[in-house]
């Protein structure tokens, strides 16, 4: 998990595609529009068109195909349950059930892999309660250190024979290991808050607004939005 997260984060900050140069707000709006149309599309043709657009966005962002496939494939297991539960001996219902989450997942990964997290979370935190918005920033900031620590802990537990015992004992040992992570997390957050107060923390973490500053690459986002709009207009009432 940490490898995927770190890879996506690295791509968001260092990517060179037009999507990376575009500002965050139009991309956020486009991704939301993609998800909403995928969810509410009454027509299968429209759903397929939106899905193809999501693939086009993901592949043109120069993400490694392995990462795109992993993101696209993640909801498949869970969706399979719904496909079985709603099986009606047609191909249209399963296709509809599969395409909706896949489109949403691809749109989310395209957005995250082309937008650095401060730019992505700044507009989201504007519509959230302040504590929750700030929590998003701080959690993401601490996430990689905590995940790396969790992985080291897990490796140490395996190397020292932590997995050689009975399953119940193994889980209790895992809990004790996670206890060190909890203590570390508390101490780290206390230190961080102290440092923020020393540096004059005003109560809001990100007041920046450059997520909304227009760039020339926003034209690419506008073009994609136009394709989505035309497809929706033409295919909404088809079968």
């Amino acid at each position: 998990m940490i490898g995927t997260l770190a890879h996506v984060d690295y791509l968001a900050c260092t990517g060179k595609s037009p999507w990376h140069r575009a500002s965050a707000l139009p991309k956020l709006v486009l991704a939301l529009a993609l998800v909403m149309i995928a969810v509410f599309a009454p027509s299968l043709r429209l759903l397929i068109a939106v899905h193809l657009l999501a693939w086009a966005l993901a592949l043109s962002s120069r993400m490694p195909p392995r990462l795109v496939l992993a993101a696209a494939g993640y909801p498949l297991v869970f969706t399979a349950l719904f496909v079985i539960a709603r099986w009606d001996a047609t191909w249209a219902t399963p296709l509809r059930l599969v395409l909706r989450p896949l489109t949403a997942s691809l749109a989310a990964v395209w957005l995250v892999a082309t937008t650095p997290y401060p730019d992505l979370f700044a507009p989201i935190s504007r519509v959230l309660p302040r504590a929750t918005g700030d929590g998003l920033f701080l959690t993401y900031r601490a996430l990689f250190a905590l995940l790396a620590r969790a992985e080291r802990l897990w490796r140490a537990l395996r190397l020292r024979g932590g997995w050689a015992s009975a399953p119940g004992r193994r889980l209790a040992l895992a809990g004790e290991g996670l206890g060190t992570l909890v203590v570390h997390g508390f101490e780290r957050s206390e230190r961080l808050y102290g440092a923020m107060l020393l540096r004059g923390h005003s109560g809001r973490i990100c007041g920046c607004r450059h997520y909304a500053e227009p760039t020339r690459s926003d034209l690419w986002v506008a073009a994609a939005a136009m394709v989505l709009g035309v497809a929706t207009f033409m295919l909404w009432r088809t079968a």
Binding site: V8, A150, L171, A174, V182
Partner: protein
């Protein structure tokens, strides 16, 4: 919560949520915030639905709130390990039940009219119920170890011990 989710357990790669311990450590309101943040980050990474962030947060948060409510009651009767294990297991049980109810309602209410369109809940139940039971046991066992460790290293994180409550109440009453 996210760090715990990064650790796959066993052949099924079950991912812990640690909702119970989070509820006990952070309280009810804080747990809902944490659940929302975790669900949002996971959804943005493609690990979870964007349109069900709120639902996921409510289900995870409810597990935390149940554990938070049960823990002080159990703590007066049992050691920290079993108290947190039972509280986490209870939270996980309620959260799993909520999830099953929501999925059932969603499948039943999806406009099926003909016999061919009727939902087949048995296969869903055959997968979901064993996973639910496994989740209760795994979360409880991990919470046991977690509480045992915290009780030794930072007991104040688990709240006041039962022995501390009575003398403090007497002292506060005496001071008043």
């Amino acid at each position: 919560m996210l760090a715990a989710m990064s650790i796959p357990l066993g052949p099924f790669e079950y991912h812990l949520t640690l909702a119970g311990p989070i509820g006990v450590l952070l309280g009810g309101a804080g747990s809902f915030q944490v659940a929302f943040i975790v669900s949002t980050i996971l959804a943005l990474m493609g690990h979870g639905g964007l349109t069900v962030i709120g639902l996921n947060a409510l289900i995870l948060g409810s597990a935390a709130v149940i554990a938070r409510g049960a823990f002080p009651f159990l703590r007066h009767r049992l050691a920290p390990g079993p108290s947190l294990a039972i509280a986490s297991g209870a939270g996980q049980a309620v959260a799993g039940l909520l999830w099953l109810v929501i999925v059932t309602v969603a499948l039943r209410g999806s406009g099926a009219t003909t016999a061919a369109e009727r939902t087949h809940l048995a296969p869903v139940a055959a997968v979901a119920i064993p996973l639910w039971a496994l989740g209760i046991v795994a979360e409880g066992a991990v919470a046991w170890g977690l509480a045992r460790f915290l009780a030794r290293v930072r007991p104040e994180l688990l709240g006041p011990a039962p022995d501390d409550v009575a003398p403090r109440a007497v002292a506060e009453g005496g001071a008043a």
